[in-house]
């Protein structure tokens, strides 16, 4: 993926009632920006039930919802800072719950790219100073600057 983050795929202070609401709101931005098809949100929600995407990292709980390439027009990552954490089930361990405060929702077109993107996001979010920089972002521009710097 040459470019993963885009200015129009940055959201802050998302007021979400729960994980589904968060996925719907963030997915809507993806759709409005023309990255995904109208089937994307429901496909992500369905996949989240079977294969949850919450991840408890050392400093922060995140979630990386995504779905299959047929629901995607062009690849990207939508980065959303939630106003309040919402509960996701943990990837690989659905009995463990994660309070996710950021979403990295992925539109994957070439499945080869998913491994690289997951590796990159996990790599950067295990560094406390990077988590602090994302948390400290007070404007969309600041959040986008951090996203570009660390995710590309």
């Amino acid at each position: 993926m040459e470019q993963a983050t885009f200015r129009e795929l940055i959201l802050r202070n998302v007021e979400a009632k729960n994980a589904e609401d968060a996925i719907r709101q963030v997915g809507q931005r993806f759709f409005d920006a023309g990255f995904v098809k109208d089937t994307y949100i429901d496909a992500v929600l369905a996949r989240e039930v079977t294969y949850p995407t919450g991840l408890q990292l050392a400093e922060i709980g995140v979630a990386m919802p995504h779905t299959d390439p047929q629901h995607v027009y062009r690849p990207g990552v939508c980065i959303a800072q939630l106003a309040h954490p919402v509960t996701f089930a943990h990837m690989g361990d659905p009995d463990t719950l994660v309070e996710a405060e950021m979403l990295f929702m992925m539109a994957i077109q070439d499945p080869d790219e998913q491994v690289e993107l997951l590796q990159k996001v996990l790599g950067v979010f295990q560094q406390p100073e990077v988590v602090a920089e994302f948390r400290a972002a007070k404007t969309d521009d600041e959040l986008f600057a951090a996203a570009q710097k660390y995710i590309g």
Partner: protein
């Protein structure tokens, strides 16, 4: 100890879904399991370890299992990785 070399061969590598399946499989065994890569040693019972390693198609790993049923568990892990086809 069970030890076997394996090269990730499915097209899309160990992305979220196969990594989650591998973690769930390994968590079901009390044996100590490690995946050794060129960069280090991963505990596959922790999905973050698997995903952080970026196991793409063509990545060589060594599967190591220590414990009572190490042979059987090792074979099951190899069979799982071998059976990934997407």
């Amino acid at each position: 100890m069970f030890s076997q070399e394996f090269t990730i061969k499915n097209q899309t590598g160990l992305h979220a879904r196969p990594a989650a399946q591998l973690t769930a499989l390994c968590k079901g065994f009390p044996e100590e399991i490690r995946l050794i890569t060129e960069k280090g040693s991963i505990n596959p019972k922790n999905i973050i370890g698997i995903l952080s390693a970026g196991l793409k198609k063509g990545t060589p790993i060594t599967i190591e299992v220590k414990g009572e049923n190490e042979q059987e568990v090792g074979n099951k892990i190899v069979a799982f990785l071998d059976g990934l086809n997407e």
